[in-house]
Symmetry: C3
């Protein structure tokens, strides 16, 4: 099994398998249970915010929990059964138990005629209603005149729950990774993002850190808004970050830029993608999608981009039962992991250096530099010339990688050799 930075794709996938069955929503025990499992890997702090709390322009809603739900035919057979898939119930459905005519029932059903085998995923957080989602095939089989429906849910004042991990570093500026944690049994969206975030958190927890890191596992929209409302001061220390979403499917990686589009995080992710993922795309910010919407809102303008494979609303399996464990693969999770690791590598290492022999080229032979290079490694030789040329105090190693079109790691390798041989000095970070 291929490992990248100590991790193989199966480890990532296995955590997804554990989390997959849980029925999550924007509040409730599904989120609590999920965070408990994540706490087995990293010491997440779990926050609970009471229903009714004003957060920015929003109000924390009542808490929703569900035990069971079904539609029974006249024989008492469950023709739609929550126990088979938690997608069968419209998320945040209010409780109901009644006999209902088929015609009236139709008003409460959701299916996808264009994908007759798939169950859609629907929510109604802020408008009270109830409903069932089912495959078009199932719907066609509802031929009786009357059915009994039951949604054994509980919708009442409670708490909104989210998890947070703060890893202090040498510097107080923070990097934020944010993953929404509110979807029930959907794999790519967003167990993939959650799993990558928690593995990244575990990795960072175990190494020295230049920057401080913050991981947020919170329900989409209301969770990010709640965190922002309670952390205005902290938010000012965020120098960059990413929402991690849909990172396990077959697509190449896509990076969605921050609002400004030319922040350090934008440049670093671009370089990491260039270095690790042959086929990738970089797209401009737009105010739709996941929680980057909230972070980049005009009042905050936090430089948070978004890393994804399949795009919000753009793949057929999006928000359907087809976004299941078959839709994601260990290999793609691992490739996402590699890119994230590279992003961290650049974030942590990128520095300004000064060439101690800036007049002409130094005589590298007599300084023992060539002895550190395998014969024929022309790329490393070129990287060394680039680092020397750009080590004028105005250019970072990332600038050097960008300008030379060489991989960042090669540039870092060249800088490390030159530093050891006494040709460079590290500048005090600004």
């Amino acid at each position: 099994m291929t490992k990248v930075e100590g991790i193989d794709g199966c480890e990532l996938f296995e955590l997804m398998e554990r989390l997959y069955p849980i029925c999550r929503s924007i509040t409730g025990d599904g989120v609590r249970h999920t965070l408990e499992i994540l706490r087995q890997m990293v010491p997440l702090e779990v926050h609970e915010v009471p229903s009714g709390t004003q957060v920015l322009d929003w109000t924390v809603p009542d808490e929703w929990n569900i035990r069971d739900a079904w539609i029974k035919d006249s024989s008492g057979r469950r023709v739609v059964d929550f126990c088979e898939s938690n997608l069968h119930v419209v998320n945040y459905s209010e409780p109901v138990r009644q006999r209902i005519s088929k015609d009236e029932l139709q008003q409460h059903l959701h299916s996808l005629p264009e994908h007759p085998d798939w169950i859609p995923y629907r929510t109604s957080y802020y408008a009270r209603t109830w409903g069932f989602c089912l495959s078009e095939n199932q719907r066609q089989e509802l031929t009786e005149d009357e059915y009994e429906v039951c949604i054994d849910s509980h919708l009442a004042p409670g708490k909104l729950t989210y998890g947070e991990l703060f890893l202090p570093g040498e510097r107080s500026e923070e990097i934020l990774f944010s993953s929404h944690i509110c979807h029930p049994s959907l794999a790519n969206d967003n167990l993939s993002g959650i799993v990558l975030a928690v593995f990244l958190a575990r990795h960072l927890a175990g190494v020295p850190r230049r920057w401080s890191y913050r991981f947020l596992f919170a329900p989409g929209t209301i969770g990010a808004i709640t965190w922002l409302a309670k952390n205005r001061e902290t938010a000012t220390r965020i120098k960059g970050g990413l929402t991690l979403v849909c990172l396990g499917d077959r697509e190449g990686l896509t990076y969605k830029r921050t609002f400004a589009g030319n922040e350090e995080i934008d440049r670093i992710v671009k370089q990491a993608l260039y270095d690790t993922e042959k086929s990738h795309e970089i797209i401009d910010f737009f105010p739709d999608g996941y929680d980057e919407r909230q972070y980049n809102s005009p009042g905050f303008r936090l430089p948070i981009g978004s890393l994804m494979r399949g795009r919000h609303g753009q793949f057929p399996e999006y928000h359907t039962s087809a976004d299941n464990l078959n839709f994601v693969s260990p290999d793609q999770l691992l490739a996402s992991w590699e890119c994230l690791h590279r992003i961290i590598f650049i974030l942590e290492n990128n520095q300004h250096y000064r060439n101690r022999f800036p007049y002409g080229e130094p005589q590298l032979g007599k300084k023992g530099v060539y002895q550190k290079i395998e014969a024929g490694n022309q790329e490393l030789k070129l990287a060394i010339l680039w680092v020397l040329n750009l080590a004028d105090g105005k250019h970072s190693l990332l600038d050097t990688a960008e300008r030379s079109k060489l991989p960042y790691r090669l540039i870092q390798n060249a800088a490390d050799i030159l530093l050891r041989q006494g040709l460079l000095e590290k500048l005090t970070p600004i």
Copy 2:
């Protein structure tokens, strides 16, 4: 008949038909007659400037008028006849009446061998001469040894005439529309521009105006120069404008940028073209063409672009009898009208707004915004998110349209809804 903003293409075309027969030049009764017809639509002020007046580096020339002109053969038959086409006489020809040998006559003839049916259009405003323009076919039929020629013109001190309409607005900054009015029976160049300008003037005269508008109907070059010479102070209030030329032919619209190239008018026309004309081109300023040359000269540098279809000197029918009423169509005139109307719409409406709930996204449901949107109108929903995100006081609605790549009207619609629902406030214009 399709109408766009209350106008159909036939109305535009019919005014062209009325103006087509008149023999115009840079001075004389043809211009006066043309302005009289335009005055039936809008209260143009008619200015007359005496011959000999110094205007910038130029001098207003003598006035030219013509009653008749012909070439007669030995039988007395008019083989070339001004009454058939006013293009037959070189514009500004001095009077002549004489018998002349065929060879000598040839020195005074102009034809187009490559288009043997077409009569060219020629002028000689500043070098006194006389001449006839005729089709190559006609020329080939001149087989007699001698002809009688007559040009019954009058070239003497008089006046240069131009029309001007000023429509004051809330703001004293002016938008200038300028159309040259000196060409005889040529349809596209520039009755099309004149007709669109006068309809636009009539439209603007009847509505509240944020900006002031000025319309100029003047002979090419000397007319623009005369106006500039007499209006140096006024010119400083011009914040943008267009020369309107060749707007009826079959080509897509072309916009020629101002000297600076990134003025507000450049951006607005680009957006209007993007929104209304599938196939269009935008080209950089160059110091040839129509009166934008004068407005953009280094002493003035007025931000005046040029809107056209066929380009100055670039279509075969240019300055020939083939630029006739068959060469232009009501449909194309109407499409030009639509684009002009859109330009005005953006000019008048573009503003800066501030999002009153800039921290995170406001909860649009509870604010009644979603109720204002037809279900499924995803584009309007996206426009609303864009407007909220960019309403940070630094971005105008035009900025928002540009960045979102959505049509300006959709952005305006979103802003109007948000303003009504109390989510935006209009900033005092700078």
Copy 3:
């Protein structure tokens, strides 16, 4: 024979023929002899710097000279003979004379299996060793068990030699042309560059000069470093320049930009290439190649680009015996000359002018401008309009050529006419 600016391609080629047989290196009599021949054309100053002198981070090496070298077989026949090609000896080989087994000899041989007829060119300036270069075919014929080898070289403290010509101009700012002079019998690399530089120097010596010019004929790397070490103050006056290398082969011209990439020299060379060489390329600076590496090092950052045809290390004949006089042609040398001449023309003539009639267009007819233009020369008319429009004191003629996309000479011609007719005034250079 076509002449360009008084020079034909054969003159250039003939000087290459004279210089071709000399065995040059980074020090020694080959360089002295070469400079002597160049001194017959221009009064070069010859500098000699003792071995052991510290220059920047480098030390001037011992001087190398060679009289003869060979490999003899058992019959005493020279199977490899320095007299046939000076490439046969590894440049800077220490002296050797001994019988040697074939196996041991192989350690000292260099050939090119992929080009079995070609002799490679190899050097070992800073690591003492000896060796022979030979064709792969010759190598295959070495079937005896033992050979006698002789390298009759002399490697001992001496001098490093380089030539320099300074041509003062009206202004003290300098333009530097630098050509490496250290290669033995290689034609393109770099007799072509040397020959073009010396012809350019002779041309400039004979004409009035706005800028000062400096020509440097020095061994690669160590020569440029030596000059920089001894001329730190002078270097600050260099406002631009070029390394001239590989200018005679069949490729189109390539310009390699300066470090900053948007210096005046970058813009001028781009324009000259646009005007003279249909098929050319412009590439970004990179810190490998020829002596532009040293000039653009962080301590100096001199705006020195590089003009070439075949690129450093990129053509198969590079550093082999196939880079001989057949590899270069008089025509390509002449085309390189034309481009260089155009670069000088722009450098010397580019100025800022002010339009004395900036309000509208001046009436060119009455100012006698049209009389200076051949009828039908529409391009010159357009150039005149461009010059008038951009002569606002903020734009140079080069700006005008760039913006108009017209050739620089046409723009200069237009400016000259306008200046003579009193429409322009030259601004005092900044």
